[in-house]
Structures are given as C-alpha cells and as structure tokens.
C-alpha cells in the first residue's frame, strides 16, 4: 500500500468532511450505509461514536472528521458510514457525504509536502487534483488501529 509503482491504475472513493475532499482506496471499502444511531461506548475517545449492528456483527464506528482533528459537528440524516476493512478488522467511518468514484493512475498522485501532512504520522498518503480541487488520499492503516492509549 505504501509505494505504488508508477502508472498503476487506482480507483478512489471520494467523500466530503466539512468543506474538504478526501478519498480512500476503493479496495478497502466494503459497503456504504446510511446513518444510524450508534450505541456509545463508555469512556471512549470522542471520535469513537460507538457501535452499530451490521447484519449481526458489532461494528465500531468512528467519526472520521474528529479522528482527523476537524471540529466536531452535528450529524444529519445525510451523513453516511463507509464500512472499510483493514486486514481483518471492519470499521465504520462516519463522513459527511460520499461524492464519487474516480479512476486515475498512480502518476496522478503526488506525495504531500512534508509540512502539509496534517495530523502528522502520514494519515494523508497522497494528494491529487480533480477539476482543480485538491483531494486528499488517506492512509487507512494510520486511521483504523487507533493508538492503544489505555494499554500501559
């Protein structure tokens, strides 16, 4: 996932958080669901919205905007949950709205300038331009296994 060889075709799912556009490798996306009420977990970090019932399994849902450090907002019915799978773990990512699926080659992706990698730790894997708008490509592995702050 890290070093994409030149001109490999990639497909990205793009979505909005506040007024920013983000995207994820579509291969990690399992499904997209409408917003449902989550059951909150006690003493959880604020970006952990809780758990929902995904056809019989318990799916943890995190607010991606809060996870990325954007200010928390009210949720509306238009919000959606993107169900992603990283390694064996399924997680729901709450986003404002899904926009599009775009196909491009890895040549179109440019590494983020050092100073611009928001939140540090390489959460933003790459940047690309679409119709003059900047789209941030997220590194899922940096998002999903959240820091196990409570262990030790």
């Amino acid at each position: 996932m890290n070093d994409i060889p030149p001109s490999t075709p990639v497909e990205l799912l793009t979505f909005r958080l506040s007024d920013q556009e983000y995207s994820l490798d579509i291969m990690c996306v399992r499904e997209i669901r409408g917003w449902t009420r989550t059951t909150p977990l006690p003493h959880a970090p604020s970006y952990m919205k809780g758990v929902i019932n995904l056809r019989g399994t318990v799916l943890p849902v995190m607010d991606l905007a809060e996870r990325l450090g954007l200010p928390p907002r009210e949720h509306t019915d238009r919000n959606v949950i993107i169900v992603v799978k990283f390694e064996e773990t399924m997680t729901g990512l709450l986003v404002d709205a899904v926009s599009d699926i775009i196909a491009l080659t890895s040549n179109d992706l440019q590494p983020p300038p050092d100073s611009a990698s928001t939140g540090g730790g390489g959460i933003i894997k790459a940047l690309t331009l679409l119709d003059d708008r900047m789209i941030r490509v997220l590194e899922l592995s940096e998002i999903v296994p959240a820091p196990q702050s409570d262990a030790a």
């Binding site: 009420r37 059951t39 909150p40 977990l41 006690p42 003493h43 959880a44 970090p45 952990m48 758990v51 929902i52 019932n53 019989g56 399994t57 318990v58 943890p60 773990t89 399924m90 997680t91 999903v144 296994p145 959240a146 196990q148 409570d150 262990a151 030790a152």
Partner: protein, 711 residues
C-alpha cells in the same frame, strides 16, 4: 481414486482416534502411578499404544510405528510380569507417552519427527528390558491391524444382482499377505469399485482355516465382484493400481462373462461359533472385513454387538459453530417477534401470545441442547498440564506432583481451547516461582515433593479453575521493592496485601531474580490476565506466606449466550449478567446513607453496600443531586464483593446472544461484550465487577498507573 479422497478422511479419523487413545494412555499411566499395576490397567495402556501403532502402520507412518513398537514391547514386558513397573519406570512411560503424542502430532501435521529425543527414550526403554528386547527387533514382525470396517453396513442399498447383460464384469480379487503388510485395505478398493457402478460383492471365505490354525499374517480372503457398469477394463484396473503385484486379479469382460449364478458364488460360511470367542480376544482384520452374504442369525447377534462405549458421533466443529450461530439468530429473532407482538396490543391470553410462550420455551431448549453439544470435560486440558508439570519440574530440578480435581467439569470447547495457553503459563509459574527449591522446602519442614493443584468446578453459572501450589507464597516485600524500582508505584505508597499481590499482573513485572529456562520469555501474568479477560473471565490471586499461592480463574460456561437483565441507563439500553444480580430495591430515606460527601452507601438488611450511579461510572452523565426513589440492583461478583448499582429503569429479563466487541482498537472499561436487541439496536453487556473495581480504585491510594491495572 477419483472421489474426494476418502483416504484423507480415514486418516483424519485415525488422528482423532489417536487423541482418544493417547488420553486413555495417560489415564492408564496415571492409574498405574497412583494405585500400582493391576492387569486391566496395563492392558488398557498396552492396547492404546498397540492401536496407535496399528493405525500408523496402515498409513505408513514409519517413525511413529518404530517408536510405538518398541514402547509396546516394554509394556508387554510389564503385562507378562517379566518387568516391574516401579516409579522410575512409570516416569519413563510418561515421557514415552509424551513423545508418542509429539510423534502423532508431527505425523498429522507433516512436521519433522524429533528423532534424537525419541532415541534417548528408546535407549532407556530398552535398558528396562535389560536389552532383551533389542535382539527381538524385526521390522517385518510388526503386525498392524488395518481398521476393520463392516462393508455390509453400506451394501443393503445396492440393487439386487442384475441379470447378465452387456457392461457386466466379473472380477476375481485375491489379495496376497503383502497387500495387508503395505497398509492397503481391500475395503477401500471395493468401495472405489462401487463408485464405478452397482456391484455384487461376494467374499470367498473358502480358504479361511479354523481359527486355531489361523496364521495372523496370512491372507485368506478372496472376493468375487460382479460389476455392472459402462466402463473399460483399464478403468477397473486403475482401481487396483495401488495394489498391483500384491494380489491376483482377473477381470472377465462382458463378452466372456456369463451371469454368475448366485448359488455357486456364495460359498459356505466357515463354522461361525468358532469364530466368535476369538473375536473377543483379538479382532483379526481379515474376518471383520467385508462379507456381503448375510451372516447367519447367530453370528449376526454376536458381531453386531457394539463395544461397551457409548454411541458417539464425531462432528466437524464448523458445523456446530454454524448451528450455534443459527440458534443465536433464532434467539434474536424470537426477541424481535415478542417485541412486535407485545407492542401490537394483543391480549396476553390470545392464541398468539400463548404460542409465543411455547416458542420461547422451545428456543431455550434448543439453545441449551446446542450448547451441550459443545461442552467438553476439561480433562484433556488437565492432561496437557500434567505434561507441562513433568517437563517443567525436570527443567528446574524440583520434585513436583500435580493433583487434579474436577476434571469431568464440562466447559464450552472454545473456552477450553483458549484456556490452554494461560493455564500453561500459570502452571510453569507455579513450578518455577511458586514452589521453593527442594533444600528450602526441607528447611521449612515441608515435604520434599512440592504439590501443584489444578481444580475445576461449576459455581453459580460459571466455571472456576484454580491453580494452587504449596510453595512459599508471594514475597510481598520483594514484590513491592521491584514495583518501586520499576516506577510502578510511588516510593512511599502504603499498599494492602491484596494490592501488592495484584502488582504481579502489571505488564513486564517479574519476580524471578534470575532469568531461568522457563521464565524470562517476556510473557508475564499480564498476558495471562488479558487472555482470561478476553474470555469474559477474571483472575484473582490469594497468597499465604509460607504455605502457598492460589490463582483463581472465573469463566463463563459458554461464550455464546447469557441470561441477562435488561436495564435503561442514561437513555441507553444495557444488559447485566443475571447471575450476578442478587436483588433489586428502591432507595428511600431509610436506607440511603453517606460515609462522606459524595460517597453513598445503601443499607440492605443491616449491611452497608457501596452505591454507584451506573450512568456516572460509564461517563454517560453527571452525578444527580438526589438518588431518592432510584432503582438499585444489588450485585455480587464471584469473589463475593457486593455493590449497589443505580439504574433508571429495569426492562425485563431475557437470554441474549453474546456478540464479541472487537478490542483491537478500543477496549471499553466495564463492558464485557455486546448483544443485539429485538429492534436491531446494539446493547452493551456490562461487566459489573470491572465497573465496581474502577469506581473503587478512584478512592484508592494507588498511583494512577496502578489504578488502571488493578482488576
């Protein structure tokens, strides 16, 4: 053979059987060690090794056969009284049994057989016999017993002998003794033939002598098979491919064949009454092999008699898992149905409601039955532990005896499997750290031999497993010293004994002053505790200086369902395990007291119990001004500590299906698992003991770091 490899299936069932035989072997050896050697026990031990050898021979597992054979020779010595099984010999037998189970495992997984260790054991075994056994060694002598499978069980479905027509082959199949020696099994070949088309299989038993004249390694049986199929001779020959040169085979093609009159093909059966007694003594493979002609009624009555064991079905665990999951769905579904029926405003005496009640009862019965399928005695686990004790005590040069109790206690299979690692670690700990060195024991006036005790028991819907040793107990002074040096507690912290003991569960904590062979692997009691917690269990520790330490594990019986009390807290629906709830009460002026500001207690029949607001403890809301008229659940955990929890409302009691929370990225404190309610929403299942511990630690004198860690 073309079909989905029946050989692999038989092989798999052989290894399952091996597990049982190894268990019987261990049991027998234990009985010998405890009560001396009565003949019956020795026979059991001998037969177990012998049967493993037999099966292994059939599958060409040479390393296993070689070892088992020499082991068996020595056991035979005990059986025939030429050898006395004293304590040392039995210890050696145990080691040999351990090695045998290694060999079985490696053979099954296709691993490398540990030759060197085996040879060392074999040398010692031979030494027991005074080398008598070695000269008798002759690989060719190894007799194995292919598993006798009664073909007549499969055959009644076959169509009657069809009249002669094109496509009918008559096959004469005369196996040589070598065929059996190489581990081939006529049954397999005959079964492969039936795959080609309908067969009339006739076993020619003319050459079978009276049993007194029967040579065990000779081959007496022949078969005549009339196969009706549209195949070529080559296809038939390919069935016999593996036994080419090991049998006489003639295939008469359709043109040459005449209908074989059944009367001429059916030979007279050998006098059966003679057969029967020797069956009991030592079943000969050849005789139990396929006989398609119906045996005489007398013989049938004898041969069909099942062995004394209970009828048992071996089922793939995946199928049971599926069943359990389906039952889980059924329970959720039933909850949904009840909820919608209740909300539809039907009279409680309507047919629908009565039906629902019946349905609920059935669901519950089904669920209990399904859970029982997965329940297994902890015996196999305990046996594995006795091996750990043997190996571990040898490594640290301590004389240790393992005492087990309650090994028939049944627990869900998944629980048993996942207990193996933590238990192994605790047993090692007990032997290595718990028990003192022999000279220290003598100095303390204790018996030289240390005792490690492993017990299992059911207690209030959970299973309690205890590992205790009669060692020196926890050196609390040293423990606190280490914890201070490592910066886990403050320099001047004053800790209770219990708090000091619990320091052992801190990550990276080790009391071993030096890294021995067994400790210092970077695995501490914290890993054990995590493993137990992930099973929904808890571990506690009690220690008496000078007389030993006990670790006590409390686990749910199953990981699938739970009797729960459904409550509302701060707008959330939650479930409390019902077995922990003692009673419910409401708070009024008479029973509410404060020990100090903000610290409430409730008086229950003259006893004061700490009062906690569940909503506050879970971080869902701020403390209320007044708790008058609140609903309270009085709960007690397994250790007996009690607490009162304030909830907003009690909804009902019901069975819930436990759904694990993926803890890979966030472990919610106080939460054991989750479940799905009738409306599809998720409710969290609380772990009250954890909540109480968290709440209590807020008032503790411990450093913040320790607070997180204490259970």
């Amino acid at each position: 053979m073309s079909q989905p490899d029946p050989m692999a299936e038989i092989r798999a069932s052989f290894f399952i059987e091996c597990e049982e035989l190894l268990e019987a072997l261990q049991d027998g050896l234990q009985t010998m060690a405890d009560n001396g050697d009565d003949l019956e026990t020795i026979n059991v031990v001998f037969r177990a090794v012998h049967s493993i050898k037999g099966g292994a021979g059939a599958f060409g597992l040479e390393g296993l056969v070689r070892f088992a054979h020499r082991y068996e020779t020595v056991l035979d010595g005990v059986r025939s009284n030429t050898l006395v099984a004293d304590g040392d010999a039995i210890k050696l037998f145990f080691r040999a049994a351990d090695h045998l189970s290694d060999l079985v495992r490696e053979s099954r997984d296709g691993g490398v057989l540990p030759e060197a260790e085996g040879n060392a054991i074999l040398t010692e075994l031979d030494a027991l016999l005074g080398n008598k056994g070695v000269e008798e060694e002759d690989e060719a002598e190894i007799d194995f017993q292919p598993m006798g499978l009664a073909l007549d069980l499969c055959l009644p479905d076959l169509p009657p002998l069809p009249s002669a027509r094109a496509g009918q082959f008559t096959i004469h199949f005369v196996p040589h003794a070598e065929l059996y020696e190489t581990g081939n099994e006529p049954f397999m070949i005959l079964r492969a033939l039936t795959d080609l088309g309908p067969c009339e299989i006739i076993c020619v038993t003319d050459k079978v002598p009276r049993l007194t004249e029967c040579a065990p390694e000779a081959a007496y049986l022949e078969w005549t098979i009339v196969l009706t199929a549209d195949v070529t001779e080559d296809e038939i020959a390919s069935v016999f491919e593996f036994v080419e040169g090991l049998c006489d085979l003639t295939v008469e093609s359709p043109q040459a064949t005449q209908a074989v009159p059944a009367s001429t093909a059916l030979p007279d059966l050998p006098p059966l009454p003679d057969l029967v007694p020797s069956f009991a003594a030592k079943p000969e493979p050849a005789e139990s092999a396929p006989v398609s002609a119906p045996p005489s009624p007398a013989a049938k009555a004898k041969t069909i008699q099942p062995p004394a064991a209970k009828a048992v079905v071996r089922v793939d665990l995946d199928r049971i898992e599926r069943l359990v999951n389906l039952v889980g769905e059924l329970v959720i579904n039933q909850a949904m149905l009840s909820q919608s029926l209740e909300s539809s405003g039907l009279s409680p005496h309507s047919d629908a409601m009565n039906g629902l009640e019946e349905f609920q009862r059935l669901t519950r019965d089904i669920q209990d039955s399904v859970m029982m399928i997965r329940a297994q005695p902890v015996k196999s686990l305990f046996q594995r532990m006795s091996r750990i004790v043997r190996e571990c005590s040898a490594a640290v040069h301590k004389d240790v005896r393992l005492v087990t109790e309650g090994d028939t206690t049944e627990v869900d299979k998944t629980v048993i499997e996942r207990l193996s690692d933590p238990l192994t670690h605790m047993i090692r700990n007990a032997v290595d750290h718990g028990l003192e060195a022999t000279q220290d024991r003598i100095a303390a006036g204790k018996p030289e031999q240390g005792t490690v005790k492993l017990t299992a028991a059911h207690r209030s819907g959970r299973v309690i497993i205890e590992v205790s040793d009669d060692g020196g107990g926890i050196n609390r002074h040293k423990v606190q010293q280490i914890a201070t040096i490592k910066g886990l507690i403050a320099q001047d912290a004053v800790l209770s004994d219990m708090e000091i003991d619990n320091l052992l569960f801190l990550p990276g904590f080790s009391t071993a002053s030096e890294v021995s062979d067994l400790s210092g692997r970077g695995v501490g009691m914290d890993v054990v505790r995590n493993a137990i917690q992930s099973l929904g269990g808890r571990i506690t520790i009690t220690s008496t200086p000078g007389s030993g330490t006990t670790f006590s594990i409390s686990l749910p019986l199953t990981l699938a369902v739970l009797d729960g009390m459904v409550v509302h807290v701060a707008g959330e629906t939650m479930v409390l395990p019902l077995n922990l709830v003692i009673e419910t009460l409401t708070i009024d002026h008479d029973n509410l007291e404060q020990t100090r500001p903000g610290l409430n207690v409730v008086r229950v029949r003259g006893e004061f119990v700490s009062l906690f607001d569940l909503g506050v403890e879970l971080g869902y809301r701020k403390a209320q001004d007044s708790y008058l008229d609140s609903v309270v659940l009085l709960i007690a955990d397994e250790a007996g500590s009690r607490a009162a929890l304030i909830v907003d409302q009690i909804q009902d009691q019901r069975q819930v299906v436990i759904k694990g929370l993926d803890e890979s990225f966030y472990r919610a404190p106080g939460i054991a698992a989750a479940t799905i309610l009738g409306d599809g929403q998720i409710a969290l299942i609380l772990d009250p003991a954890d909540i109480i511990a968290q709440a209590q630690s807020n008032t503790s004198a411990l450093s913040p770091k320790l607070m997180e860690m204490t259970p």
